[in-house]
Amino acid sequence: MRTRRWAAVAAATLIVAACGSDDKSADTTAAGGSETTAAAGGDTTVAAGGDCVVGVSWNNYQEERWAKWDEPALKAAIEAGGGTYISNDAKSSAETQASNLENLVTQGANVLIVLAQDGTAIKPAVTSAIEGGVPVIAYDRLIEDPAALYITFDNQLVGKMQAEAVFALVPKGNYVIIKGNKADANADFLRSGMELVIGEAVASGDITIVGEDYTDNWDPAKAQANMEQFLTAADNKVDAVLAENDGMAGGVIAALDAQGLAGKVPVSGQDGDQAALNRVALGTQTVDVWKDARALGTAAGEAALQLCKDADASKVAGASPFTTPGGNDLATILLTPIPVTQDNLDVVLDAGWIDKAALCDGVDATKVAVCA
C-alpha cells in the first residue's frame, strides 16, 4: 500500500543536514543495527523507573510531522500514566526497522508502537515480538498481524464526511468522484463512506455520477487530467466533485478553474494541507477532513499503557474487530476525524496546525470571520 505523505509538511522536510550529510545507514552500525533518536531535546535514555517501557519505532523521524505533532502527544500520554518512552528511527529502511524492533525489546520495551515503513516487510518482526510476549500497536499504518492493535483514523468516516459536506450543498445533480491509488485499500474505504451518503440519491436518479476513476499514486497532476476529461465528456455540466484527498482536490480545482467553475462547484478533500485549508478559506474547496495527529499519539500512548498491563489487544478500551484487506480481524481503534469547512477554520488555527497568514492568503477578510 503506497503510503501518503502529509503534504502539509512537504515544504518543510527538505532539511539541510547540519551535522554531516552522510546517511549513516550505509555504514555498518553498532551492535543492534540501530540508534536511538538523538533529536534535539529528545529523550534518548532509558529511565530506571517506570513499569511500562513503551518502545516507539519511527519509520522516518526526520519527516517534520512526527516530532512536531505525534511524538509530544505520545510522550505526554505515556508519561502521564507513569510509563517510559524510548524510540528508534528507521530512516526509511524497512530492514533497519526490523532490526530496530529487536533493539527496542533488548532495551527493555514492554510494548512496541510501530509506524511501519512497509507494513508487509515488517510483519515478520512484529509477529516475532508478539510471540515473544511484547504486544505491538500498528500506528496509523496497517500491519496484518491478527494479534496486533491497529490505531488509525476511520477512513470510511472520512469519506462519509467528505460526501456529507458536499451533499448538503448539492443533493441533486452530476457528480464526479476522484479516487486515490487503485492498489491502496484506503481509496476503497473512502469510497464506501461516500456511498453511505449518496448511495440512495444515486439509486433514485437524483445524483448521476458522470465520472469516477482511481488516480495512480494519488497524483494531483493525474487527477487534474482526469477531471479535465470528465468535464469535457460532460460538457462542463458537473455540479459536485468528491476528491479523496487535498492533493488531488488541488488538481480538480485547477481543472474547474480553467472552465470558470472554481468556487461554483463544491469539492472535498482530506489531510489538512496548507494549500487546501487556504482554498477552504477562499471558497474553492468546500471541506477538508482533518486528522489531528495529536489524537493519534494520545490514543496510542494510552493504549500502550493498557497493553503493558494486559497484552490482549482486544481488551484495550475503544478497540473493536476490524476486517482488514488481507482478511484478518484486528482489534482496532478507529479515531474520528474533523471535517473542516469555512465555518470552523478556527479549529486548525487554534491547534497551531496552520498560521493565519497561510490560511488567509488572498482571502477577503470581510467574508471569512477567522481571517478578520
Partner: protein, 564 residues
C-alpha cells in the same frame, strides 16, 4: 591448487574435463561470514597476507557530458517513466564500446565511440531510420545469430524489434527473418541464454503494465522453433506481476540457467518476485514456496548478480524504492531459499546520502564492477524520482558504493565527483577509452545523458589507475560465440573471484564485450573459463593491465591492443 601453471602440453593432457564442478569453499576462507543476530557482520573472509590490496576509496570521475558529443534525453510522459536504458557494445570492431540510448517518446540514438585511448571521451551520433526508433524503452546487445556482429534486442512500448548487426554499426530489422513476434506489450526487461545445443538463444521479454490499462501483462519466453534458425511463437509467463527486469542465471551452479524477474508491487495485489525454472525441452515453471522460494514484494526495477561471499553462487542485488535488496542463499540451501543481507553489507541505500532529502529513494539500474581496481567489487546504483512522487525523494543522487575488505560497502559518489540530481534511469559502467578504468554513462529523464571519465587517483590531465586490472573477452565457435553463460574465474593469490557472463538484468539495458577485473596490487592473475556447456578450460596466467581474448580453442590468451 597448483602453485605454478603447467606447461601447455601437460595441461592439455591433465586437464580434467569435469562436468559442472561443485564449488568448494576455500580452506583459507573457512572462517567465512558469520552474521550475529542484531545485524552485526563479522567477516574474516579475506585471509591476511592475501595479494589483494587494502580497499581504497572511490576513483575520481571527470564530468565530460558537455564535451563528449552526446546530446540525448529519455523523453515522454507516463509511458516513459520507467525504462530509459543504454546498451554498450562494439559494432565496428575497434574494441571501443558504442552506446545505444533509448529515447522514449523521442527517437533512440546510436553513438559511435571515437575516444582516443586514455583520452577524453568523444562520441559521434550515427543516425539511421533503422536504429532511430521511437517508443524505445531500452536495448540489450548480443550476437544472436553468432555471425560475429553484435545484434540488438530493442525493447519498446508497443512492439519489440531485433536488429541484426551488419558490421560497421549498420543494422537491419530481423523480426521477419527470425520469425520474432514483436508483440504489442510494454517491454522494459530482457535476457537471453542458449539452451542446450540450440543455434539461437532463448529470449525472455519482461513486460510491465498492459498498454492503456492498469493491470499487469504477462512476460514472454521466446524459444527457437524446431528447425533451429527461427523462433517459435512466444510462451506467456503467467501470472505476470509488472516486470521491469529479468535475468537468466545459473544461480545454483547446477548448469541450469533459470529466469529471475524483478516486479513492481505498485500495481499488483497478490504478486511477488519470481524465479522460473527453465529446463531445455520443458515448459517454464515457477519456483514456489515448497521449493524454498520466499515471496518478496518490492518495487523491483533492476537486477545485478555477483558472488560476494566467495561460495561460487552469486548474490543478487535488486533495486527498489526505499530499501534495496541483497539476496543470498541460505547456508546449505537446496532450493532457491534466499534471505536478505543488504543491511549487513551496508547496501540498503534506502534514501539519499546527500542533498538533504529525507524521503525514500527510487533506484533503477544496479551494476557490480570494480571501479577503483582494488580487487574488491563495487556497486553502482542509479537513482531518480519516478516523476513527481511526493512520497519519495526528489533530490535523489545515484550511489557509488565502494566494496571494502570486510565485505561491506561504503558510499563514495560524493568523493568520486558523480553526484547529480537528475532523474537517472539506465546506466553503464564501461571502459570507454580503453585505459583500464571503468567510465560511467547515465541516461536521464528529460535532461541530457551524462558521461564521466574515470581518472583513478589522478585528474583530467593525468589519469592514474588505482590498481592493476585485466580486461577479458571470450570467444568460442558458433553458436554463442561470446560464450554467454560462461563463468570467468580470476585468481589472485588465494582468492578467486568468479563472474557469470550474462545478457540481461540491470534496468532496460546491458553491455557485452570486455569483462573487467580489478587486481589491486597483483601484477598478474590466473584466469580460467568455465564455458557455457560446463566444460572448464585451463588456468592461464595473464599479465595485468592489458586486454586479452580467450578463445576456447586456443591454449593461450591472446593479447589485444587498441589502435590509437
Amino acid at each position: 591448487m597448483p602453485d605454478e601453471i603447467p606447461d601447455t602440453d601437460q595441461s592439455a593432457a591433465d586437464q580434467a574435463r569435469k562436468p559442472w564442478p561443485r564449488w568448494k569453499r576455500f580452506g583459507a576462507l573457512a572462517a567465512a561470514l558469520i552474521v550475529v543476530s542484531g545485524g552485526v557482520l563479522v567477516v574474516t573472509g579475506w585471509p591476511s597476507g592475501s595479494a589483494t590490496s587494502p580497499a581504497d576509496g572511490p576513483p575520481n570521475y571527470v564530468d565530460e557530458s558537455a564535451s563528449a558529443g552526446i546530446d540525448h534525453t529519455y523523453a515522454g510522459g507516463f509511458e516513459f517513466f520507467v525504462g530509459g536504458g543504454v546498451a554498450a557494445f562494439d559494432c565496428n570492431d575497434d574494441g571501443r564500446d558504442e552506446l545505444y540510448f533509448a529515447g522514449g517518446s523521442e527517437p533512440a540514438a546510436l553513438y559511435r565511440n571515437e575516444s582516443p585511448v586514455g583520452g577524453e571521451l568523444r562520441f559521434t551520433e550515427q543516425s539511421s531510420p533503422v536504429t532511430d526508433l521511437t517508443a524505445v524503452t531500452g536495448a540489450y546487445p548480443l550476437d544472436l545469430d553468432s555471425d560475429g556482429q553484435i545484434d540488438l534486442a530493442v525493447l519498446r512500448r508497443g512492439g519489440n524489434v531485433v536488429l541484426r548487426g551488419l558490421g560497421d554499426c549498420r543494422f537491419e530489422d530481423a523480426n521477419d527473418s527470425l520469425a520474432i513476434d514483436g508483440g504489442e506489450a510494454w517491454t522494459v526487461g530482457f535476457s537471453a541464454t542458449w539452451e542446450g545445443s540450440n543455434t539461437l538463444p532463448t529470449l525472455a521479454f519482461g513486460n510491465y503494465l498492459t498498454p492503456g490499462g492498469d493491470t499487469c501483462g504477462d512476460s514472454r519466453l521466446v524459444r527457437p522453433a524446431a528447425g533451429g534458425n527461427t523462433y517459435a511463437p512466444p510462451i506467456a509467463l503467467t501470472p505476470g506481476y509488472c516486470t521491469l527486469s529479468v535475468l537468466f542465471s545459473d544461480w545454483a551452479r547446477s548448469g541450469q540457467r533459470d529466469l529471475r524477474m524483478a516486479n513492481d508491487r505498485h500495481y499488483y495485489l497478490d504478486g511477488s518476485e519470481q524465479l522460473w525454472q527453465i529446463a531445455p525441452g520443458a515448459a517454464p515453471r515457477q519456483f514456489t514456496e515448497s521449493d524454498g522460494w520466499r515471496p518478496l514484494q518490492i518495487w523491483g526495477m533492476g537486477i545485478a548478480s555477483h558472488d560476494l561471499t566467495d561460495d561460487g553462487r552469486p548474490e543478487v542485488f535488486i533495486t527498489s524504492q526505499g530499501d534495496n535488496k541483497l539476496q543470498t542463499l541460505d547456508e546449505g540451501a537446496v532450493g532457491p531459499a534466499y534471505r536478505d543481507i543488504a543491511l549487513d553489507r551496508g547496501v540498503t541505500a534506502q534514501r539519499p546520502f546527500v542533498g538533504g532529502d529525507v524521503l525514500p529513494s527510487t533506484a533503477w539500474h544496479p551494476e557490480f564492477e570494480d571501479v577503483n581496481n582494488d580487487g574488491l567489487v563495487d556497486l553502482f546504483v542509479s537513482k531518480g524520482n519516478v516523476e513527481a512522487q511526493i512520497d519519495n525523494a526528489m533530490r535523489d543522487p545515484s550511489n557509488l558504493l565502494i566494496g571494502k575488505a570486510d565485505g561491506t560497502f561504503v558510499e563514495g559518489a560524493e568523493a568520486a565527483g558523480i553526484v547529480s540530481y537528475d532523474r537517472t534511469r539506465g546506466a553503464a559502467l564501461v571502459d570507454l577509452n580503453l585505459d583500464g578504468m571503468l567510465d560511467l554513462v547515465e541516461v536521464n529523464r528529460q535532461v541530457n545523458v551524462r558521461v564521466w571519465r574515470n581518472v583513478g587517483r589522478g585528474d583530467a590531465e593525468q589519469p592514474q589507475p588505482m590498481g592493476h586490472w585485466l580486461a577479458v573477452r571470450l570467444h568460442q565457435s558458433a553458436p554463442n560465440v561470446d560464450a554467454i553463460g560462461a563463468w570467468v574465474e580470476v585468481r589472485v593469490g588465494e582468492r578467486t573471484v568468479v563472474r557469470e557472463v550474462t545478457v540481461g538484468g540491470g534496468h532496460a539495458g546491458g553491455k557485452i564485450g570486455w569483462i573487467h577485473a580489478g587486481l589491486g596490487e597483483a601484477a598478474s592473475a590466473e584466469v580460467r573459463v568455465q564455458w557455457p556447456d560446463g566444460e572448464a578450460g585451463p588456468w592461464m596466467r595473464v599479465v595485468a593491465d592489458q586486454f586479452v581474448s580467450i578463445d576456447r580453442d586456443a591454449a593461450e590468451p591472446l593479447p589485444w591492443a587498441p589502435q590509437q
